[in-house]
């Protein structure tokens, strides 16, 4: 290495702007939330374990279809989550622009996750309801109006939970959109400098 190269390094070193500490903290906080996102898979995972336990305790075609179907949904969700967060763990470089770029990509991934929920949650709920009906009908336990009322009650309960989580996702999506708009403006300004 020549002294010319040392001089180039010196100029590059001095030209390197410090990444604002609040931006670093924000990105680190987002990283923690992303890890919690994986923990959130615990809930659908427990539904999957329940479906397998049911299939083992009461082996029948509906319970097996339920177990296989629920796990198929779970695997698809997990794979999509892994794919979505693949390049979102750290900035590509230690610069303000790279941190902003990472935050923008994370916001877009979060909006995708919200859209995925709107697609997958109703499908999974309808699938579970349909198999539940199939299972109960095959055991011939839907005899009285009271039995049917219990089943419909379970459907309403499951739909209400799904709708409630959907509302929370909608609120979260709105917040993310505002954040994304701010970050995209910031990114444009950084690009103009």
């Amino acid at each position: 290495m020549t002294d010319d190269e040392l001089e180039i390094w010196r100029r590059q070193w001095r030209g390197q702007p410090a990444v604002p500490i609040d931006l670093i903290r924000k990105v680190e906080r987002q990283t923690i939330y992303m890890r919690f996102g994986y923990l959130a898979l615990f809930f659908p995972g427990s539904v999957g374990v329940g479906a397998v336990v049911l299939a083992v305790l009461m082996p029948s075609l509906p319970t097996m279809v339920l177990a296989v179907g629920v796990w198929a949904f779970l695997i698809i969700i997990a794979l999509m989550q892994i794919k979505a967060s693949k390049s979102l763990w750290a900035p590509t470089t230690e610069s303000t622009a790279a941190y902003v770029d990472l935050s923008v990509r994370r916001c877009r991934a979060q909006l995708k996750a919200v859209r995925l929920y709107y697609l997958v949650a109703p499908l999974l709920t309808i699938f579970i309801m349909a198999v539940q009906y199939w299972f109960l009908a095959s055991y011939d336990v839907l005899k009285t109006s009271r039995d049917i009322a219990w089943m419909v009650g379970a459907w309403v309960y499951a739909s209400a939970i799904m709708a409630f989580v959907g509302l929370l996702m909608r609120r979260w999506g709105k917040k993310v959109r505002v954040e994304l708009s701010y970050l995209e403006n910031l990114q444009r300004r950084l690009g103009e400098d």
Partner: protein, 69 residues
Amino acid sequence: MSLARDQQEARLFEAIHRLPLDYRQVMTLTLEGMSYSEIAEVLGIGESNVGARLSRARQMLRDLLGVHS
């Protein structure tokens, strides 16, 4: 400032942060424009030691940046 423009600076910044502490100190103080004697005084080591560490730090930095001499 665009991503493409600051990428080289960021690579250097990252590479320097990956140097072991002894070498990082000497390298950053050099890049800040301090002389051997000033660095020796700040770090409490001999000037010859500063030269040796800087030489080794340069080599490590070159390897990290993929610069071939």
